[in-house]
Point group: C2
Chain length 304, copies 2
């Protein structure tokens, strides 16, 4: 098949490469012509100087796969695509969009008889070699049309891609996947911090994470990556203890509230990241400190 890939960053670029290596043709567009030129050279990507040109290089039922930052950029790109596409053409949003936005996009595109697929995509920078895990929300017809592409992106044609349900369900499933990821990551983070904290044992954290990869209950891909990353340096003195968060962790916590179903661990894993970011400069700690001073005369630690 021949499709267009819009956005050739860490995810989109590797996905285009994987598709080409699996025998598909990919017309690529990115705001950076440098990125396009590189993929043209290394992977035989078909280059384009604009979205319009990229689309014009497709034939028949056009499939446009977007790997763009979630939110306004994705939304605007979809609107811009409408005049360039015909009835039964398909837009795939493979980014990390909020599933509610994807439902809206799907309804809007339906007005123009343009098909839509929300495809939650997991696998990170390793996807090029290992394949991606694809969570698909779409109508049966749209899923069927895109299937050859899904089979090429997944680890194997049979595994790692699933038509989960209607539009929205792909990004919803990816959102929950990332929520779980937050909880798993924080579990390892807390455990390894406690392991390091018992100084009398002088435990080699790199050795233990490597050990656990073999036969333990916590063995996992996240542990594989962690063990590998700790091999060179386990003290991490040059790393700031600051953890960013992106949309899905927050949306998962909101989802729990909307459903009225408790998800304390997923929520807490997110809150821990907020705390590391310290946007509030620890104002809450200061309040606690003045309260302890007020009722108990406890000494407040002062700056400087």
């Amino acid at each position: 098949m021949k499709i267009a890939m819009l956005g050739l960053g860490k995810m989109g670029g590797n996905m285009a490469a994987r598709l080409i290596r699996n025998g598909h043709e990919v017309v690529g567009y990115d705001t950076s012509q440098e990125v396009i030129a590189k993929l043209e050279k290394t992977e035989k990507l078909i280059p384009s100087i604009s979205v319009k040109e990229a689309i014009s290089k497709l034939e028949g039922q056009k499939i446009v796969w977007m790997m763009l930052p979630a939110g306004e950029i994705t939304k605007k790109q979809i609107a811009d695509l409408i005049p360039l596409l015909n009835k039964d053409d398909i837009i795939v949003d493979g980014g990390n969009s909020n599933f509610k936005q994807s439902v809206k996009m799907g309804s809007m595109l339906e007005e123009y008889d343009i098909g839509f697929m929300d495809c939650g995509t997991s696998g990170g920078v390793w996807g090029l070699d290992n394949g991606y895990c694809l969570m698909v929300g779409a109508s049966l017809e749209v899923a069927k049309a895109v299937e050859p592409i899904l089979r090429a992106l997944a680890p194997t044609p049979q595994t790692g891609w699933l038509h989960v349900g209607p539009i929205g369900s792909g990004h919803f499933t990816k959102m929950i996947h990332n929520g779980i990821e937050y909880g798993m990551m924080e579990s390892f983070a807390e455990g390894l911090e406690l392991l390091k904290g018992r100084e009398e044992y002088g435990i080699n954290i790199a050795d233990v994470t490597e050990l656990w990869r073999h036969g333990s209950v916590v063995r996992s891909w996240l542990l594989d990556l962690t063990a590998e990353a700790l091999k060179g340096d386990q003290d991490l003195e040059k790393i700031e203890p600051f953890v960013a968060d992106s949309g899905e962790g927050r949306w998962t916590a909101v989802e729990a509230i909307e459903q009225g179903i408790p998800a304390p661990v997923l929520t807490q894993a997110l809150q821990v990241r907020f705390r590391s970011q310290e946007k509030s400069k620890g104002y809450g700690y200061k309040i606690l400190s003045i309260m302890r001073n007020a009722f108990g005369g406890h000494v407040m630690k002062k700056k400087g």
Copy 2:
């Protein structure tokens, strides 16, 4: 080598079998003669009718591996072994003992010049085929003496066993391992509950867990087991929503308090299990209910 294995339950029985299959001789004892007879028949376990007899069947530097319930039973067994052993013999506690108890046991046995190893053992019922992950606390001499056994129990002679540090560090590392396990399990539990909760998507939870096994960031052995278990029945209507907890989850939460290091996710994963057990019959909920009624006149849901 020839060792004694005390306790031939789910863990000890399979470990004895794995050792025998790897060319070692194992004298087995269990309170159930039936269990011993079975392993004698299927695995050529050397049977014994008492701990004393089991020990008497060993020669030279005796190694006694215990796979017993943690706490008083393990403690008593160690005391009972002292008069049966000689200088430089070795007791291995492969159970889930508290690391602080193991430190005490090690010190006590040192008085009698008996070696001690605390060996945290992970792998569950799958260890027989896959091998066990072994976290070893011991002196260098003791670790060296037991090494051939560790190499046979581990997934491969080179991987899955580690001399972590001094006595206590093996069970300490296993405790943290299990703490992490609680957090990972609860992460999946919460995520899958939210996935099921969005009824409009009718998501097939069995399909999604199977999907995530391929190329996703959350792929892990726990996910493998979960996907497999959900294949037959994903509604789980016959399963009580009750989750037991054993020592390590609690000890990990206490460890965080003792170190003064926050571990909110590991702690919360434990608290969730307490809530599922409902020993308090929801007394806290009732208090909240009467408070809401008291200040806001909100209707209390009454029984019957």
